[in-house]
């Protein structure tokens, strides 16, 4: 992660029709400034205990979210629940491989999520391409495009592994180490450049939340 080169490029919502300008924010994301001491600890505890997942089954990993949501594994008791819209969600679960077409929606959904937001990536595919390592239509490493807080390996990771992953995420959040969102803000231009490298039809604004 250290070798992220900043590619200076003008990022703006240029090219938007004037009537749509007002629909989008016109500034790059900012890093989150933590509150002081115990206040931030309390906030982190609260965040960690209410992980709201964005219900976007991006890949085959979504199949193991169903058992997790329902009575057998019952993730609600851990403060985890799916939400239908990015605006209400704090955790984005990347369910395995992401095709280029999905990546565009992933980026857009991720940017629309309110901070603090976290990303959990499932399966081999998000780590190093998985079994689609030579596919022409999938991206190989998700952390080139959006920051990831926790990886869970497996193909697919079982619901138990997912739960363990969420517990790990909680730990990270409580410790104040869930830096994904800030990283995205810090390396915004690098991420954007990467995204544009694979998404050829970039017909959306750069600041798209």
């Amino acid at each position: 992660m250290s070798d992220k080169k900043i590619i200076p490029a003008p990022l703006a919502n240029e090219g938007l029709p004037p009537d749509e300008r007002g629909l989008f924010c016109d500034a790059a994301p900012r890093e989150y400034e933590p509150a002081r001491g115990i206040m931030e600890d309390f906030a982190n505890w609260a965040r960690s205990e209410s992980l709201w997942i964005l219900g976007f089954g991006t890949g085959c990993g979504a199949i193991e979210l169903r058992p997790l949501m329902t009575s057998r594994f019952d993730m609600y008791r851990y403060g985890i629940q799916p939400r239908p819209t990015p605006r209400q969600s704090s955790v984005f679960v990347i369910g395995g491989y992401a095709s280029v077409k999905t990546l565009k929606r992933i980026v857009r959904s991720y940017e629309q999520m309110m901070g603090p937001k976290f990303v959990v990536a499932l399966g081999s595919c998000t780590i190093n391409g998985g079994m689609y390592w030579d596919s022409y239509n999938t991206i190989k490493r998700i952390d080139q495009y959006i920051p990831v807080d926790v990886y869970i390996t497996g193909c697919m990771p079982r619901p138990e592994a997912l739960l363990a992953g969420f517990q790990e995420l909680k730990k990270i959040i409580r410790a104040g180490r869930a830096e994904g969102q800030n990283e995205y803000a810090r390396n915004f231009e690098w991420f954007k450049a990467n995204q544009k490298k694979v998404i050829k039809d970039w017909n959306m604004p750069d600041y798209n939340w």
Binding site: G57, G59, R66, M69, M131
Partner: protein, 387 residues
């Protein structure tokens, strides 16, 4: 307003609405939307709250399987194929294995035939259980999913015990299967079937005798029987339209000719009947699994020895192998040029016809709130649309 038991015959031809008129609302349902069965999207044009036009958008899950397979050895493809249809991988495994066996002239041992049948019926049950949760959920009935997904998990436990995998079993390998049943496995199967059957009874009470479900599902998404051949509709969707078509009977593959079961057909061809029919098929699957367990040979080899997988060459030829999956006809068309890799593999999944051509037409005239329910009632899996 659609009344009870009234079929809306969907218009087949597309009347392009004039979007600039300001009369219509264009909205996207998916890919990030709770009312969609997977990672795909519908571009709906609504007049008021009635959909007048729909365009399906797929490609979010495209991994290029058919191309990837041309680059891999025959045996290396076997872990790949099961990923095509995530909730029911075994049909892919079976079709691929059977195609290879046909091309290479391999006869599968009797034991493997029965184990394959068991595996396919188990996954059929699991897939239907997952579906029924979605169907109820699409109409706002969350309880069913709480039960049925757990029941599906019990079936997955069986798979885990049998094959070592929960979702992707990779159990049916060219030449046979990868292992005999572990000790006590068949007892676990029977116990689990007992539990699931009890649960299905509950589901029938709660879901199919539920006024809300009845009001919303009856009459929704009527498929006229003449569409069946026109659009290549197969499986429960076709049987519900009164067309008696089931590859288990028609092709008589694996151990199905030796099993005792009847074809279930309907005629009302709406979402409610399709759901009822699938429930009946779940009971039928349980019955079939019990028959298989009772009649399966106890001993014998479970895999025919094949040449070294690293340089297994299959004689030139082509074949099409199909099986009846939960949603209809699932087929693999495999061409070999005599090399160690497939020349061409084409996968025919029922989801494409159901989720794209049929869906686009059925959804016209449907209330926006019912789109999700309609889509689920066709039982489609987006990952399988794009091979």
């Amino acid at each position: 307003m659609r009344r009870q038991n009234e079929h809306v015959i969907p218009p087949e031809t597309r009347a392009t609405p004039d979007l600039s008129s300001g009369k219509y609302l264009v909205m996207w349902q998916g890919p990030q939307h709770p009312g969609i069965t997977g990672n795909m999207s519908l571009r709906l044009v609504a007049d008021g709250d009635t959909v007048v036009d729909c365009e399906t958008h797929v490609g979010y899950l495209h991994r290029g399987f058919e191309k990837l397979m041309e680059r891999r050895l025959w045996m290396q493809n076997f872990p790949l194929v099961c990923r095509i249809a995530v909730p029911e991988p075994d049909f892919n495994e079976y079709c691929y294995a059977a195609a290879l066996e046909e091309l290479a002239g391999v006869t599968v041992p009797e034991k493997a035939v029965w184990l394959r049948t068991l595996s396919l019926e188990m996954i059929r049950l699991a897939s239907f259980l997952m579906w029924i949760g979605g169907q109820a959920g699409a109409f706002g009935h969350g309880t069913i999913a709480q039960w049925s997904v757990t029941m599906r998990d019990y079936v997955l436990d069986l798979f885990e015990e049998l094959s070592g995998g929960r979702i992707y079993h990779m159990y049916i390998i060219p030449g046979g299967v990868r292992g005999d049943v572990p000790d006590g496995f068949l007892d676990h199967v029977l116990e689990t079937m007992q539990v699931i059957k009890k649960n299905l009874d509950d589901i029938e009470l709660v879901m199919f005798h539920n006024a809300v479900f009845k009001m919303r599902a009856v009459g929704l998404g009527y498929i006229p029987p003449d569409w069946v051949d026109k659009y290549g509709i197969t499986g429960p969707n076709a049987r519900s339209a009164g067309v008696a078509r089931d590859l288990r009977k028609d092709l008589g593959y694996l151990a199905y000719p030796q099993l005792d079961f009847k074809l279930i057909t309907g005629g009302r061809s709406d979402a409610f009947e399709r759901a009822e029919l699938r429930l009946a098929e779940m009971y039928q699957s349980i019955d079939l699994i019990r028959q298989i367990v009772a009649r399966m040979p106890k001993d014998g080899p479970f895999r025919e020895r094949l040449p070294n997988p690293l340089h297994w060459k299959i004689p030139a030829g082509e074949t099409y192998v199909a099986a009846e999956c939960t949603r209809g006809e699932y087929g693999f068309y495999v061409v070999s040029d005599g090399g160690d890799k497939p020349r061409r593999v084409a996968v025919r999944g029922p989801s494409y016809t159901h989720a794209v051509s049929v869906m686009e037409r059925l959804v016209r005239g449907v209330n926006i709130a019912d789109v999700a329910g309609l889509m689920v009632s066709l039982h489609t899996y987006p990952p399988e649309i794009e091979r």
